[in-house]
């Protein structure tokens, strides 16, 4: 791939805990082109969230240890950057939205102030901050944004809180948006809305997205490529259409089988045989 936005080479991360070392990521490699959407799918403990947080060194450093590998953003290794440079990347080049919007937003600041903080930090040239905040709130589909400026996070519903987080992430024009389980904590109907919102944003804003999820069901129509993670390793990686139609690895096959299909005649839900998969290495 010429001029990739992001290149991960042999990344390995472990956690030093009081009960021993946990190997969260055991040597993964992938790359992303500009504007591409990648879905990282796996169960809890597969290392997908850790990978996402590692991109800007957001993992708390004890206990996390970056054992080996490189994270190349526009050719520069994030893991070798000084803190000051890292902070210019965070929010400006790579932005995040997290799983629990209700706790991820600061409860004692208005949503205007939280979004303004990002803008003031990375785009100091902006004069009319309120107007800018309203622009992004509108972009993510919040009705009557001017009225919402001085609301506090708890005054909004879960879906709206997540939209605010998206607005905050977009407000500095990042090249990559990392969405860590963005819909898991939301109602099913709201989930669909947020995914639609992301799909719409993909058309309007030229931005790469990493969508981290355990749910294969939401990546259709959104992800160009998908990486399936199991126990810290990528076991399958390819174009979404291909992987969904013809999964190669047994784990991927098992995951896809778990998605309940309407009209299926099945008495038991499919489960995943971890022991057998572990034995495969």
């Amino acid at each position: 791939m010429p001029d990739p936005l992001l290149e991960i080479k042999n990344l390995a991360i472990h956690f030093a805990t009081e009960t021993g070392t946990i190997e969260a990521v055991r040597g993964i490699s992938f790359s992303m082109a500009r504007g591409e959407t990648l879905a990282i799918v796996g169960e809890s403990g597969s290392g997908k969230s850790v990978t996402g947080l590692a991109l800007t060194r957001l993992l708390p450093e004890p206990p996390a240890v970056y054992q080996s590998g490189e994270i190349l953003l526009d050719g520069k290794d994030v893991l070798k950057m000084e803190p000051r440079e890292l902070r210019t990347i965070r929010g400006k080049k790579i932005a995040y939205i997290f799983q629990e919007p209700s706790t991820s937003l600061n409860p004692v600041f208005t949503i205007r102030n939280q979004i303004a903080e990002a803008i003031k930090l990375h785009r100091p040239e902006v004069r009319e901050i309120d107007a800018e905040v309203i622009k992004y709130l509108d972009l993510v589909g919040i009705t009557d944004p001017a009225k919402r400026l001085h609301d506090y996070p708890h005054q909004l519903s879960g879906g709206m809180q997540q939209r605010v987080m998206i607005a905050m992430a977009l407000s500095c024009g990042p090249e990559l948006l990392v969405a860590d389980e963005p819909t898991t904590a939301l109602d099913v109907t709201i989930q669909a809305q947020i995914i639609d919102q992301l799909r719409e944003l993909k058309q309007r804003v030229r931005m790469a997205i990493i969508l981290i999820t355990h749910n294969f069901g939401i990546i259709g129509g959104l992800a160009d490529r998908v990486a399936v993670m199991f126990r810290g390793k990528i076991v399958e990686y390819g174009e979404t259409r291909t992987v969904l139609a013809k999964p190669q690895h047994p784990y991927t096959q098992a995951l896809i089988q778990c998605i309940p299909q309407p009209g299926q005649k099945r008495e038991r839900l499919a489960t995943i045989d971890h022991a057998a998969l572990d034995a495969m290495g």
Partner: protein, 313 residues
């Protein structure tokens, strides 16, 4: 909000009544009227002197009657006169409040600023050896009784080195500072250890919250995350605690005042206990309870005002 306040005030009334009742009956169980009279009038007082004294204060009436009369007096603000000095109790308390506040207010402000500063600093360098060391120092400061601080300060700083007066108080102009210097410093020392640990725990709790990660993901620098995000959230709990302490400041520290000879309310109480001055003691109890209950109500109000989640719901 208003109805909530009213409910809290109403709830405070039975407690006040209970407090007054307990102290009243304890007091009457402790000593017979005759013993009280002997104590105040001295051992040389004759029988009829004592009887007259008892009768003048209505102590020979049946106890329930005395109690009712006492409640009535309290309700109308008649706190009686001192058995020892004859001064109006109300006046004693008004003049005594000044010296107490001269020590507790500066001490409290200084201790608060120091504790918050140390706590934030410790969270910034958390889990480092210095953090551990500061925690141990805080615990050590809490592990000495007040008297030890006072006695050593008086012996060495005051008497030996003559930097400060060891005893006494005066209100005139700049002289006040000489007299309150040592008491205020000791007040700070005994409180800062406990407060710093408490605030550190509060800030540490906030560091673990999700919004901190979001702030870092936005590229906010660590000092700013602490000083703005964590601080403002932690402040809600801290302000509530601080406000709860404020009413007690009027009463002053019993030990510091009596050991330094500061004529504050703490000293008033100690003297009253030692001389058996019942009206003063009873009023102190009543005042103490009122302040305590006021602090509880203030805490609730403060919490509701400071936390937007409660204020706007």
């Amino acid at each position: 909000m208003f109805s909530y306040l009213v409910r809290r005030l109403l709830y405070a009334v039975p407690i006040l009544l209970g407090v007054v009742a307990i102290t009243f009956f304890l007091d009457n169980v402790m000593m017979s009227p005759d013993a009280k009279a002997s104590r105040v009038l001295g051992p040389k007082a004759r029988g009829e002197q004592r009887r007259e004294w008892i009768h003048n204060r209505g102590l020979d009436q049946p106890i329930p009657q005395q109690f009712v009369r006492y409640i009535g007096n309290l309700a109308t603000g008649k706190f009686g006169t001192s058995w020892v000095t004859g001064r109006e109790v109300r006046e004693i308390f008004v003049t005594g409040a000044g010296p107490s506040l001269c020590i507790t207010v500066p001490g409290f402000i200084a201790a608060f600023l120091a504790s918050v500063g140390v706590a934030l600093f410790q969270v910034f360098i958390r889990n480092s050896p210095l953090d551990r060391g500061l925690t141990i120092v805080s615990i050590a400061l809490m592990s000495l009784p007040t008297m030890v601080y006072v006695i050593f300060a008086q012996a060495f700083l005051a008497l030996a080195l003559c930097y400060f007066p060891a005893y006494g108080f005066s209100f005139d102009g700049l002289n006040v500072f000489r007299f309150i210097a040592l008491p205020v410093c000791i007040f700070i020392l005994i409180n800062v250890g406990y407060d710093a640990r408490l605030y550190r725990a509060i800030f540490l709790e906030e560091i673990g919250q999700d919004y901190v990660r979001t702030a870092q993901a936005k590229g906010v620098s660590n000092p700013r995350v602490l000083a703005v995000h964590v601080f403002k959230n932690g402040l809600i709990a801290i302000i509530t605690l601080v406000v709860a302490e404020l009413p007690k400041l009027i009463l002053g520290s019993l030990l510091i005042e009596s050991l330094f000879g500061i004529p504050g309310l703490g000293n008033v109480l100690v003297q009253a206990i030692q001389t058996g001055d019942q009206p003063v003691v009873m009023t102190s109890v009543f005042l103490g309870s009122v302040l305590y209950l006021a602090a509880l109500i203030l805490t609730d109000i403060c919490y509701a005002l400071a936390d937007p989640r409660i204020r706007l719901s």
